[in-house]
Every structure is written in C-alpha cells, then in structure tokens.
C-alpha cells in the first residue's frame, strides 16, 4: 500500500492518485460470483439484446467498487470511509477476451478523484472528494462523492 496520507497532507483541489481498470467479460463473471449479482445482462448476449442496452454492460456495482478502491487505496490503513455515493449514469461495455487470460484490444477506464472540502467535526478529520469512473472517451460514466476520515498528525 502507498504511504499513509494525513489530514494535513491534503488540500482542496488535491488529486486522488488515479486507478486504472479494464472491464472484461471475465471480470464480469468473477464479479457475479464475488458479489452475488448474477443478472445475465452482464454476461449473456442474447438476454442483453432484450434489455435495450446495446449489448452486455459492466455491472454498475463493479464500477462502484472500483471507485471505492480508489478511495481506500488513497486513505490507507488508518483512513476510513464515512459516506459514499455514486450514480450509474452512463453504460460501459466490457472488452471481450482474446485468450483465457488476456483481454482483447480496446477501452481502458480511469478512476479519478479530487478533494472538494475538509473540516474537523466532532473530533473527526473529514475530507470530502468528488470521485468518478472515466471511459476511454474521457466521459464520466459513474460520478460520485465520498467523505473520509483521515488520521491527523496532531493525533
């Protein structure tokens, strides 16, 4: 894990270190198993064709989990997520697999964030940030926000 970040280290406008992800059909199946969401919209072409989505789409909750990881990677072992929200605004389409382990050429998704506020409340050092998933065209398909509690150097 990265070095522990402290409340005093961040300022409004600070960037959360970018996390890169590639959505694939393989990942969709792993996510179905890991999360318990077996909706065939995320791995079955024939069913997806009945849903008006233009094909199988990446689980919204997987994109949510990506930006949760963005935040938990950043805040380190001593940080804690207090609030989190996101909207599944735009659909994302996973890459197919070229081999058993490697995705076909295609889109790469970037998870990003910026600090929008900080305050001390009830003894908690709170940092607010905007977070989002950006598709290969630079569009924010999954915008969200989080409030985290960071440790303070003042104890």
């Amino acid at each position: 894990m990265a070095k522990q970040v402290y409340y005093e280290d961040v300022e409004i406008g600070s960037e959360v270190p970018t996390l890169e992800k590639i959505s694939t059909t393989l990942m969709a199946v792993r996510w179905a198993g890991g999360s318990g969401d077996f909706n065939p919209l995320h791995y079955d072409d024939n069913f997806a064709a009945t849903q008006g989505t233009g094909g199988i789409i990446t689980h919204g909750a997987l994109k949510r989990a990506w930006i949760v990881q963005l935040v938990t990677d950043w805040i380190g072992a001593k940080g804690r997520v207090k609030k989190f929200s996101c909207q599944y605004r735009g659909m994302d389409f996973p890459r197919r697999m070229a081999t058993m382990g490697d995705p076909a050429e295609g889109e790469t998704w970037l998870c990003k964030g910026t600090v929008t506020g900080k305050k001390v409340e009830d003894g908690e050092h709170l940092v607010e940030c905007d977070i989002w998933v950006e598709n290969g065209k630079g569009e924010k398909t999954t915008p969200g926000s989080a409030t985290v509690i960071l440790p303070s150097k003042k104890g």
Binding site: A65, D73, A77
Partner: protein
C-alpha cells in the same frame, strides 16, 4: 404509475441475516482487483487495529440460505414487471458507514421501500425505486445504511 406500485412505498422486507466470512471478503476483493491487505490478511488488519479482516466498504457478507440480499428489491421488481416495465437497471447508491464490518460479524439487514417515483425520460416512462437497508451487527449496533436506486423502464 399504478396505485398497486405506489402503495408499496414504506413496505418492509423480511429481515435478512448475513454472515461475514474471510473467504467471501477475499473473493469479493479479488473480483474487484483490489489487493489491499486489510481485505486479505488477518495479521495486517490486526496490526492496523482491527479485530479481524474488514470488508471493503459496500460489501456486507453473504445472506444466509440464499435469501435475496435486498428483499425489497425483488418485491418491487415483481410488481414493476407486472406493470410492463421489465427492463431493470441499477441507478446508483448512497451509503453511510458507522462501524467497519469485519470477518466474524453477523449482520441483520432491514430493508424498506423508501421511495418510488416516475419520470418521463428520452426513451419513455421510467420508474425509480429506492430501497433503504439498515445493517445491524450481532451487538445490535448500526453499522451501515445503504440506499439503492433501481430504474425500471
């Protein structure tokens, strides 16, 4: 929106009991591609001050006996399908975390249909349903609240 659908606002689902297992936490984190040792390594988590491995925020463990995690969603889903709105999409979440959830916890999830509203979208009528779930741990402490919105069209 039919009265039958509107009348479901406020409906509570049967509480669902969920076990938080180390293996399930690891499989979930692996599915995200998240190798954070807090979600994989018991000793690391203990050294960080937790009693056991913790869950990534937003993972609640497994529902016992395969019951729907959010009973309310399946309840309202059936009515929406009956109303001809059979294309269901996840709309988003809004979550508050009070106490980190750790391996060994047993959670009870209380879900209710908090809101159902209709909107005219570009592609016709859309119905937004928000299900609010409150999670209590084995000591009766509130650990988290999750509000999930599903879109039917």
């Amino acid at each position: 929106m039919t009265d039958e659908v509107k009348a479901m606002i406020g409906t509570m689902a049967e509480p669902v009991i969920m076990e938080v297992e180390r293996g399930a936490i690891r499989r979930y984190a692996d599915a995200v591609g998240d190798d954070n040792p807090l979600f994989h390594d018991v000793e690391f988590a203990k050294n960080a001050g937790y009693e056991d491995m913790i869950c990534p925020p937003g993972f609640w463990g497994w529902a016992i006996k395969g019951k729907a995690v959010i009973g309310g969603l399946s309840m309202v889903g059936a009515v929406l399908v009956k109303a001809g709105l059979f294309r269901i999409l996840d709309g988003g979440v809004d979550q508050e975390f009070y106490i980190p959830i750790r391996a060994g916890d047993t959670l009870t999830a209380y879900s209710k249909i908090a809101d159902i509203r209709e909107r005219e979208g570009k592609a016709g009528k859309m119905v937004f349903t928000t299900v609010e779930t409150t999670y209590l741990n084995q000591n009766g402490d509130k650990v988290a609240v999750n509000r999930a919105t599903i879109i039917a069209r």
